[in-house]
């Protein structure tokens, strides 16, 4: 259901761009207005989302410890999986963000003759890592359209990416890997029963969208070519805030740009914000040092207690008979002790009820 809906949505978006450009001729709208709106939305949107998260405090030090804690000097601490220092946390976060450390732990379980067996389950990690890294490289490669001359690191990246020198234009490996990896992620979502069961339309949509983006990009580079100089004229016009629509850019370019713009607009309002959120995850970005340093909860408030004095009032005689020391022996001031049994004093300073 969700999958079909998302596929239809992506096809419809492509059709909209096709009709808009090829039949109605709204080149400025699809080539200028939409990209500006999209870039503005993703930037403002992501900042807004991060600030919203930032406004909620982290009241407790809830690091998930995934290894040996720091305790006695002769016990080897697992400094990256259970860091107790800032540098350790930086290391842990770097592993998490650059190499998907936690996903690397993944295993699969299987029930065989009444026994659970676990085996390595690294395909998700591999596909996810391949997908995210190639997506990043493809994005960086596109910087050749946004600087004149193209930055040296982009050229270097391109020659690395095309080092096999297959065909002309040279085949960029990242584009192909990106498409394969994202297709695997889609296949997995459809083929693994549990994952299909938990999937929403919002999970299929970005996958189909990215597949469509990669496909139009690859088509444009290798098969339905467009005049790249005109394309750069358009992109340079955009970033120089003097937009132009050069003649003769094929419609596939506009479809590609429209799909990318959709992704940009969709990004901050969807699960895709995990890209920013992962940095803020309190189970990962806190040092496990909560016994060494006090973690402050900004909304910590006084609560209603049952202080020792009241407890002693409840059990004074029993304690004395059992030989347990008391603060106020019952022989000395039994009545006084009874009457001042703190209820009022304590209630006064404490907010009533839950929260």
């Amino acid at each position: 259901m969700g999958a079909l809906f998302s596929l239809a949505a992506v096809l419809l978006l492509s059709l909209v761009a096709y009709v808009g450009v090829e039949l109605i001729g709204m080149r400025s709208f699809f080539g200028i207005v939409i990209p500006y709106v999209a870039v503005l939305t993703i930037i403002v949107g992501v900042v807004y989302r991060v600030i919203t998260w930032g406004k909620s405090p982290v009241p407790f030090a809830i690091s998930t410890s995934c290894g040996q804690q720091k305790s006695l000097p002769w016990i080897n601490q697992s400094k990256l999986d259970n860091p107790s220092t800032t540098s350790g946390v930086i290391g842990r976060m770097a592993l998490e963000i650059l190499l998907f450390r936690s996903l690397f732990r993944n295993n699969t379980s299987e029930l065989r003759e009444g026994r659970l067996a676990y085996s390595s389950g690294k395909w998700l990690w591999l596909a996810a890592l391949a997908f995210h890294w190639t997506f990043l490289i493809v994005l960086i490669r596109h910087m050749r359209f946004f600087a004149n001359p193209s930055p040296a690191f982009v050229s270097a990246l391109e020659s690395l990416d095309g080092f096999l020198q297959i065909g002309a234009p040279r085949l960029f490996l990242t584009g192909a890997i990106l498409l394969v990896a994202v297709s695997y992620l889609l296949y997995r979502r459809l083929a693994v029963r549990t994952v299909r069961y938990i999937s929403l339309a919002a999970d299929y949509f970005p996958l189909f969208l990215i597949i469509a983006i990669a496909t139009t990009g690859i088509l444009m580079r290798y098969f339905i070519k467009v005049d790249i100089v005109s394309v750069k004229e358009l992109t340079m016009g955009l970033i120089g805030f003097s937009p132009v629509i050069p003649e003769g850019i094929g419609v596939i370019f506009y479809i590609h740009v429209f799909l990318v713009s959709t992704l940009f607009v969709y990004f901050p309002f969807s699960k895709l914000v995990h890209a920013g959120g992962v940095f803020l995850s309190p189970t990962r970005n806190l040092a496990n040092d909560s016994r060494m340093k006090r973690h402050i909860n900004p909304w910590n408030y006084p609560v209603k207690l049952h202080p020792y004095e009241e407890y002693e009032d409840d059990f004074r005689e029993k304690m004395e008979n059992a030989g347990i020391p008391v603060e106020i022996p019952s022989a000395k001031a039994p009545a006084a002790a009874e009457s001042e049994s703190g209820n009022e004093t304590n209630d006064a300073e404490i907010p009533v009820g839950e929260e």
Partner: protein, 538 residues
């Protein structure tokens, strides 16, 4: 359970999924899978709202008229108070890495026990009421109306989560279902929807100082039994003190250790150890609970119960605190206590009076785990140990969820156990340390009416124990958790007969050669030690 299924039947877990989407399958309350509803008197004791008599299977849960408002308002408040909550609502990509990491999913096959779906139960409501896309697109954006059925579903599944954090280890963003369950339960508690197995102990702990409701004189007499047993086994009379002012150390243990087997053997172990090294310490009857069932209720309740530890340390004028073997107790002591009730500036950084080791890792909290303390003693050669007295045991170690994933105390207990036992075998790698499996009864779910849930939830753990039983003849499952000591024996009896359960300090006590002790012929359980062959041990 009316008819108790056999292990063969129960291990045929049905992982097939319904054809209809999860949002359209209303919750079905299955006998043996949930705990009894909280009683009004328990809630009243701690001033919790909507205290009334109710029953889970009733159609009408007697909720306040405006329950929906209360829930949504409470969600809003917590979204603003907990970055974790807001973030975990927003960034899940439903990759499914957590799905088969939950012991309750592995043991029940119920898809809503996949951590991701358990979170989606509340996330769908979040999307519907707190995101623009959900408000506009509803179902299409994964949003869902908050109905009574949804609320009941929350209740059923948030009390089928033991807050073990295993999912959080595998999640690429560290999304922690324990955090979501805790907040979910906190919201349910605003409507008086607790379980009695938690609400009762909470009320007990608030009024009497411990979950079991042991009154001071009862604690004392329980200890006298244990002291007698120690004397019978070792010939040494230990002399613990209670509520004694001026002691150097306050010792806080889970109350379970003071009451039932096999916890009491561990408790005897604590006393023997402290006696042997001559530690100047006291127990407290007021702070007689290390555990904290308030933690399974609400943040506020947890803080109310936890406050007794520092308050009592201050009243008694001790210098620092040692905590006993308990799982969730240590999540609380390690990650929450100082934040709630600190700073404990009236205490000193713990220094072992025997070895001189300064425990910098507890520099602020001033409370150390007894495994850290004992490991340090052994490392410095301060204990005279005869591990051969544990030769009748083939031991494996069950890491508790909270101490592993909410603290990371993994190698200290192993070091201690390997020094007091000659036969130690690890369970398979995917089932220990940070990947350890829950006993199936954590977070206040160790009642009897939900035994099927417990047996199913404990299935992955039991499986791993069975593995080492078959390969190494393991017959003793050691642990550092009071809920383990209560929950694992029935689990082992059911799934892996022939494996007993012991706290770590029971094993220490067996091996500990005390000054002036008689020749031991019995272990801590008063069971005869096998005749030693060629007994020439040190």
């Amino acid at each position: 359970m009316a008819k108790k299924p056999t292990p063969e039947e129960l291990s045929k877990i049905n992982y097939s999924l319904p054809y209809t989407g999860w949002m359209y399958n209303p919750v079905e309350f299955k006998d043996g899978m949930f705990c009894n509803a909280s009683k009004p008197e328990s809630l009243n004791t701690v001033d919790f709202p909507n205290a009334r008599k109710w029953s889970v299977k009733d159609e009408d849960w007697n909720l306040p008229e405006n329950w929906k408002e209360i829930v949504l308002e409470a969600m809003k408040e917590r979204l603003e108070k907990y970055r974790s909550f807001r973030l975990f609502m927003d960034i899940c990509v439903r990759c499914g890495a957590c799905a088969d990491k939950c012991h309750f999913f592995l043991g029940t096959g119920d898809p809503k026990n996949m951590p991701v779906l358990r979170a989606e139960l509340i996330r769908s409501v979040y999307r519907r009421y707190f995101t623009k896309s959900g408000q506009m697109l509803g179902n299409l954006a994964g949003g869902r109306e908050l109905t009574l059925d949804v609320l009941k579903e929350w209740w059923y599944y948030f009390y089928q989560c033991s807050e073990c954090r295993r999912c959080s280890v595998f999640c690429p963003y560290g999304i922690d279902q324990a955090e979501i369950t805790m907040i979910g339960r906190e919201i349910l508690n605003l409507l008086g929807l607790n379980i009695e197995w938690i609400a009762g102990p909470v009320a007990n702990c608030f009024m009497k100082g411990n979950h079991l409701g042991l009154e001071p004189h009862t604690i004392k007499s329980n200890f006298e039994f244990m002291i007698d047993d120690i004397e019978e086994i070792t010939g040494v009379k230990v002399d613990p003190s209670f509520n004694r002012k001026g002691a150097e150390v306050l010792f806080v243990a889970p109350s379970g250790d003071m009451f039932g087997d096999p916890g009491t053997y561990t408790c005897m172990g604590y006393m023997m150890l402290f006696h042997e090294i001559g530690l100047d310490y006291t127990w407290s009857t007021y702070a007689s609970e290390g555990g904290n069932f308030g933690f399974f209720t609400s943040n506020e309740m947890a803080k109310r119960l936890n406050s007794k530890i520092y308050a009592e340390a201050q009243r008694l004028g001790v210098k620092w605190i040692i905590g006993g073997e308990c799982g969730h107790m240590w999540r609380v002591m390690h990650q929450y206590m100082d934040t709630w009730n600190g700073p404990a500036d009236f205490l000193e950084v713990p220094v072992s009076p025997i070895t001189g080791t300064k425990f910098e890792n507890a520099g602020s909290t001033k409370m150390i785990h007894i495994a850290e303390f004992t490991a340090d003693l052994i490392k410095h050669g301060k204990l005279n140990l005869d591990p051969s007295r544990n030769d009748h045991l083939k031991v494996t170690f069950h890491d508790s969820c909270n101490t592993s994933r909410g603290m990371g105390i993994l190698d200290e207990p192993r070091y201690v156990i390997k020094n007091v036992c000659n036969n130690f075998h690890e369970m398979p790698e995917d089932t220990i340390r940070e990947k350890t499996f829950c006993c199936g009864s954590g977070s206040g779910l160790n009642a009897s009416e939900n035994m099927e849930l417990r047996l199913r939830g404990g299935f992955p753990r039991a499986n791993a124990v069975k593995h080492v039983q078959q390969h190494h003849g393991v017959n003793m499952l050691a642990n550092i958790c009071a809920i383990d000591r209560a929950a694992l024996p029935p689990l082992m009896n059911y799934w892996v007969p022939g494996v007993d359960v012991a706290g770590m300090h029971e094993l220490v006590a067996n091996a500990l050669v005390m000054k002036g002790e008689k020749e031991r012929t019995q272990d801590m359980r008063l069971e005869d030690l096998p005749e030693k062959e060629g007994a020439e041990d040190v």
